[in-house]
Amino acid sequence: MRKVAIVGQKQINAADVGKSRERMLFELCRDFYKEMGITRHDIDTFVLCSNDFYSGHTISNVFEDCPVGAYMKDETKVEADGVMAATYAFIRILSGLYDTAVVVASSQGGSVMRPYLQMDYSLNPTYDRQVDLLNEVNAAALQARAYMDEFGVSEEVLDKIAARNLRNAARNPYAFNGKTDVTPADVANSDVLYEPIKAMHCYPFTDGACVLLLAAEDRAKELTDAPVWIKGVGDLLETYYPERDVSRSKSVKSSAERAYKMAGISDPASELDLVEVSAKFSYQEPIICEALGLFPEGSAGDVADRGLADMDSAMPVSPSGGALGAYAFCAGGLVRIAECYRQLTGGAGDTQVADAHTALAHGQDGLFLQHNAVMVVSTEEG
């Protein structure tokens, strides 16, 4: 199998970027290509990630091709999350047809469209949408309660998880929702949206875009001295609720098992130096991390009390602040990969984890953590 590496990243996240989607993408990609020392003609294939509903027209990529430099170039789109798009770009390079690929994921959920509405229209139109009882936030509340009840986890634990992420985000220049010195009590005092979900448990509405450059082995080594190799991927989808126990995530577990097998990882908790997960609500972080095999099932209280997921712990979880720091739909997962890249190349600044060589990025789409994808990346070529 070919070796494929990530050789560069660039991202922008804001509550309101103050410019059009086209201009946001053009400026991001123009500057990124310049930094990488390439032109758009050096890119063999473009994989875009955006959503028709967010963009307000079908085939959302049609007005993104030119701003990312894909005019008259090989181009495709994945309409879910950036981890899934990056996985597809990885596979395209593995095919041998392409040596370089750019992945660009974006949306403007901060300024253009309330993100929760998009989720409403992903509900089953002949039942859930007609009954009109579910939306993204009360689905989060239902899943949080199921997890808390199953494992005896208190609301205070969700507050602690949120506070840790918001404090981490305050140290990350790419996150805009960070809160220095925020305490679990501050989180507990934020508005209750749907009990037990409070405002500070939730991802912020975000305008954002992220771009990654992937390359096959020879090109990767020409483009950078510090490639970050893609070692394993997994991408699985389950139903959003009827046929499953929402207190756990089988699709996170199975996608991780696939990725670990591919990457030759047998003990993820000791072999991974950090993870970046797309927990859009604080309660999702333990469900994801437990399914990844990093902590025992139902151990959220213990992990929070003992700081086992802190930036300076043995298993740092989302040192960037994760989705609570910024989460643009589609771009959210790609940002997780970009953050792993920053960590493994030693460029994570105030969020840098010491001796980071192998990391995992997680992305999701849908209600109740329905669709999950993971990517294991490493500085070790192997």
Partner: protein
């Protein structure tokens, strides 16, 4: 109880109300164009690298991938590049009068523009014909300041 199982298809009426969008667009090129239209002038933007004149102009060249800002005057006459005769609306309802919709390349621009051509029988209309914009009496600085096009007869 007995219940007859088996395939059954139902049709359910559902709403697809996509609410309100706050679209964002690049304003510069359209402002340049519409401000000129108040004085019945057309202005586009030229790429300094490939020379392409866009009207209305984007803020970057889609081919050269660089920012562009050179303003150029464009004439309100042009050439018909293609046309069709519109006979029905998008839902298939016939319209009362046939309408000629033409793609027009203005003199001095490289991009095409869609407009309605009047004063000519559709059977007589041809690609390559020369047309001129017919302006509204009191231009307000909007794209509808060009009311329609008419064929230039020598």
């Amino acid at each position: 109880m007995t219940f007859e199982m088996g395939p059954e298809t139902r049709q359910v009426e559902a709403m697809w109300d996509v609410s309100t969008y706050n679209y964002r667009m690049d304003g510069t090129g359209i402002r340049l164009l519409t401000e000129g239209m108040k004085e019945k002038k057309l202005r586009g933007i030229r790429c300094g690298e490939c020379g392409m004149v866009y009207m209305p102009g984007p803020s970057y060249c889609r081919k050269c991938f660089v920012d562009i800002d050179e303003v150029v005057e464009v004439k309100d006459t042009g050439t018909v590049m293609s046309y069709c005769v519109t006979m029905a609306d998008v839902r298939g309802n016939p319209i009362e009068e046939f309408r000629i919709s033409a793609m027009i390349q203005f003199d001095g621009a490289d991009t095409w523009f869609v407009g309605t051509v009047t004063g000519v029988e559709w059977q007589d209309f041809k690609v390559g014909m020369r047309v001129k914009a017919v302006w509204v009496d009191e231009p307000a600085g909007s794209l509808s300041d060009i009311d329609r096009f008419e064929v230039i007869t020598d």
